[in-house]
Each structure stands twice: as structure tokens, then as C-alpha cells.
């Protein structure tokens, strides 16, 4: 097939999966948060269960004026939402939905993933700096400090997985989790990396991932009670919508990465390998949904950390733990 045509189809497919996915997560957040606070949440929009609430919100944002403050750095201010959105969508290039359902199986998939996921924070920093607002700038700088602190444990936790899998390709990592570990009465048992001893790695990755997404308990860059809305303060209309969608699309992509690295990705025990191209996407979506639910659960339960607690958690606990995890994984890899 023509390269450009294939590219267009892939982009369209990723967008067709991602944006509705983000909307579903937004709806889930509205509904779950409401019930966790003994409310009902959206109820009337769309006729039943308020299912159309995210669409209605989007429509509302589209009608709003696209405001650029006088003190803002115009070009950078306008560009920032696109950078955030791009960084989020770009991670989906290497997320495998099935043995053949992957946009591009890069050999350095994991490396690429960690590289582009930092792009989001660059966009946030751009937004914070260019807004010409003190709150925005503090928010942006906090986001940068958070990136520096939490990118390390994220990478180190992923390194342990790469060591254990012996590859950095995400297809390879999923394949490594489908290998038979032992057999019980003719039934081959394969274990995802979470059950192959990456418990600490999983915990570190999830915590650092939450921080990368700047969700509660790590939402200091936004921190409504301290910084109004952080780097989002000056944004309105469609540009705000892009940040908003980007945040939830980021949640979906982070959940997809976590499930691919630690929970076996599209693979589930008991499914014929030939069927995985059909069942795989559904399995991945189910895993993503569970992780997204846990993220939402965290958000509506826990308070926000203080800025110094955030730094101390990363540098004093997560990074040493991640380093120890790598050493132990390496030893286990050599010995076993």
C-alpha cells in the first residue's frame, strides 16, 4: 500500500479510537466522582444517564471566545495545546492492540514512548510561560519540576521490564508475557510481568505515571486551590478543550502503556492466539478501563501532596526503589 495512504489511515484510526476513548473516560470521571460523593452526576443530557454530557461540554467550549491575553506570548500561547495533544497522541503509535494491530512496531518502542510522553510536559511549560500570568507560570514551572523528578522513576521502572523482556519493542514485551512459565495438567500458564516479580516496578510506574499525568495526588501544576488553574488559567474555548481532552487521552494512553508493560497488554489467558487480533483490542480496552477507574478512584479519594512532599517522594523513595528493582531484576535474569 502507498506509504502516505497507510499513514493517513493509521492517523485516522488512532484518532477514531483515542478521542471517543477520552470522552468515555471524561464521562466515567463525571459519573464515578458523583457517586463517590453521594451525588448522581450528569442525568438529563442525552435522555438517559446523561451520556451526552461530555459532548455537550465540548459544544459549550466550542462556542466560547478563543481569548489570548494581552501580556501573552501570542505564538507560543497558541501552539502549546497542540504540543500537548500531539505528545499524548504520539504515544499511541507503538501501543499494540493485537499481534498485527499496531501502528508501527518500533525496535526502540519503549524509548520512543518515554521520549514522546515528555513532550506533553513541554507543552505545559510552554503554556505556563507564555500566558503572562503568575499562576500560569508557577504551574508551568511546577510541571517542569515534576517532569524532572518523575521521568526518572518512570524510565527506571520501564528499564526493569525491558531487562526482563530482553527487548524494547512493545510487541516483544507482550510476547515475553505470553511465554509459558509452567504447565498445570496440560494448561500452559503464562504470567504478565506484574506476577513475574515486577510488583515494585508496577507500583513505581503507576505512581510516576500519575505524576506525569499531573492527576491527584500529583496535580500541583493545576492545584485549583493554590494556583487557580495553573497553566490552564488563561485558556478558554477550543484551546482549553484540547488541554482537557489531552489530559484524558493521556490517561488512556498511560493506562494502555501500564497494561502493555505489566499486565500482558492485549493478551489474556485461554484465548486462541489466532483470535487475538479480534479479541485483543477488547481485552486491552478492558484493562485500560480498569486502570482508568483506579486513577479516577485515587483522584476522588486522596488529597493533593505538598510540593516538597512530591519532590521527596520521587527522589528519596521512588528512584532508589527503582534502582534496587533494576539490580534485583538483573540478578534474577542472570541467575534464573
Amino acid at each position: 500500500m502507498n506509504f502516505w495512504l497507510e499513514l493517513l489511515v493509521k492517523i485516522a484510526l488512532i484518532l477514531a479510537v483515542m478521542l471517543p476513548g477520552a470522552l468515555v473516560v471524561i464521562y466515567g470521571e463525571l459519573k464515578i466522582s458523583a457517586h463517590m460523593q453521594s451525588r448522581i452526576g450528569p442525568y438529563f443530557a442525552g435522555g438517559r444517564f446523561g451520556w451526552a454530557q461530555p459532548l455537550a461540554d465540548g459544544l459549550k467550549f466550542m462556542q466560547k471566545e478563543d481569548l489570548v491575553p494581552a501580556a501573552a506570548d501570542d505564538a507560543v500561547f497558541r501552539l502549546a495545546p497542540y504540543v500537548v495533544m500531539m505528545g499524548t497522541l504520539a504515544t499511541f503509535v507503538i501501543v499494540p492492540f493485537g499481534p498485527d494491530l499496531i501502528a508501527e512496531d518500533l525496535d526502540l518502542g519503549l524509548f520512543y514512548l518515554l521520549a514522546v510522553s515528555s513532550l506533553t510536559t513541554l507543552g505545559v511549560l510552554m503554556a505556563g510561560w507564555s500566558s503572562g500570568n503568575k499562576y500560569s507560570m508557577i504551574g508551568g514551572l511546577r510541571a517542569a519540576a515534576q517532569l524532572i523528578a518523575y521521568e526518572l522513576p518512570l524510565v527506571l521502572a520501564a528499564v526493569a521490564v525491558a531487562v526482563q523482556a530482553g527487548t524494547m519493542s512493545l510487541q516483544g514485551i507482550v510476547a515475553a508475557q505470553t511465554e509459558t512459565v509452567f504447565s498445570i495438567g496440560g494448561f500452559d500458564v503464562a504470567l504478565p510481568f506484574l506476577l513475574k516479580g515486577q510488583v515494585i516496578g508496577f507500583a513505581i510506574f503507576v505512581v510516576a505515571g500519575l505524576a506525569e499525568l499531573s492527576r491527584i495526588p500529583f496535580d500541583m501544576p493545576i492545584a485549583e486551590s493554590e494556583l487557580t488553574m495553573g497553566y490552564l488559567t488563561e485558556y478558554s474555548g477550543l484551546r482549553f478543550t484540547m488541554f482537557f481532552l489531552g489530559e484524558y487521552a493521556g490517561m488512556v494512553s498511560m493506562a494502555a502503556i501500564v497494561s502493555t508493560l505489566f499486565l500482558g497488554g492485549y493478551w489474556v489467558p485461554g484465548v486462541d492466539p489466532d483470535m487475538l487480533n479480534v479479541v485483543g483490542p477488547l481485552v486491552l480496552v478492558a484493562k485500560v478501563a480498569i486502570i482508568c477507574f483506579v486513577f479516577i478512584w485515587f483522584r476522588w479519594t486522596w488529597p493533593r501532596l505538598r510540593e516538597d512532599q512530591l519532590q521527596s517522594l520521587a527522589w528519596r523513595w521512588l528512584i532508589p526503589a527503582a534502582l534496587v528493582n533494576i539490580v534485583l531484576t538483573g540478578i534474577a535474569k542472570v541467575v534464573l
Binding site: M36, S38, R39, W297, F298, T301, W302
Partner: protein, 161 residues
């Protein structure tokens, strides 16, 4: 077991888990919210929803209007002459109610008018659906107040000694 129960709360992150248990419980519990226009709330029988008027019992004594703290009751009446039953009898007069309006935009539901009425012409009704689009339409006349009389619950039974 007692030792575990006592020390389990000292485990790291235990408080976070406890919080998650609380939110999860709240999530699976049905909220008590009543989606008002779709579902109707049933008020308690003697709820102070609106004040109903029994025109026949009213003697236009004006006590309610005078006691009303924010002067939301408007009463007008006139003396009517009733001819004597028998030849040579005295012509009697009776007060007739012409206007009895309550401005529910002003009313603060204190119930003093109901308490003060010496002839039991005013009652509390649990009906609450009488809001209007304009504040000037909140002035309800005696015909409307009489309609609400049908929704007044019967008085509670007397206590036996």
C-alpha cells in the same frame, strides 16, 4: 488477632486504603437525590408547603394581616346588611371577604397567621408546586388559596387522657 487489629492501622499507606474503602462504599450506595421534575418528592404529611384559606370561616378580623411579620397578606372586606328573619326584627350586619391575597414572594413561612387565626380559617398544606416565572405572579388570590384547602390533611387525632 487482637494484635493484628491493633497494629494494622500503623502499616504504611493504610490511611490511603481506608479512604479508598470509604469512597468505594459511597460509590455503590444509591444516592438519596430526588431528580425533582422527573421524580416527585413526597413531603411529610404536615409539611409547611403553602397556606390554604377557608373563606367561609374567615371573619375579616385582619389579625393575620396585622401579625404578619413582612406584611404579605392583603385583606379587603365590607359590611353586609342581612334583613331580619321576622317582621320588625333588627337588621344584622356581617363582614364579607372581598379580597384575601398572600404574596408568596414575601411570605417567609413563619406560620404566625395560621397560629393567630381565631376562627381556624388558615391551614398549612403540604403542596409546594406553585412557583411562577414572574415574581409578580406570586401574589395568589383567595380562589387559589381555597383550592389548596383540598390538599390540607385532616387534623391529628386528639390525645386521650
Amino acid at each position: 488477632m487482637a494484635l493484628i487489629d491493633k497494629n494494622i492501622s500503623k502499616l504504611p499507606l493504610w490511611g490511603l486504603l481506608k479512604g479508598m474503602k470509604v469512597t468505594f462504599k459511597a460509590m455503590v450506595t444509591k444516592p438519596v437525590t430526588v431528580n425533582y421534575p422527573k421524580e416527585k418528592e413526597t413531603p411529610v404529611p404536615r409539611a409547611r408547603g403553602v397556606i390554604a384559606l377557608d373563606v367561609e370561616a374567615c371573619t375579616v378580623c385582619m389579625l393575620c394581616a396585622r401579625e404578619c411579620p413582612d406584611w404579605c397578606i392583603y385583606i379587603e372586606g365590607h359590611k353586609q346588611e342581612i334583613p331580619p328573619d321576622k317582621e320588625g326584627g333588627r337588621v344584622r350586619t356581617r363582614s364579607t371577604l372581598d379580597r384575601f391575597d398572600i404574596d408568596y414572594a414575601l411570605c417567609m413561612y413563619c406560620g404566625i397567621c395560621v397560629e393567630v387565626c381565631p376562627f381556624d380559617a388558615l391551614f398549612w398544606s403540604p403542596d409546594y408546586e406553585y412557583s411562577e416565572f414572574s415574581i409578580s405572579d406570586m401574589l395568589h388570590d383567595k380562589e387559589r388559596l381555597t383550592e389548596w384547602l383540598a390538599t390540607v390533611p385532616p387534623p391529628p387525632p386528639l390525645e386521650s387522657s
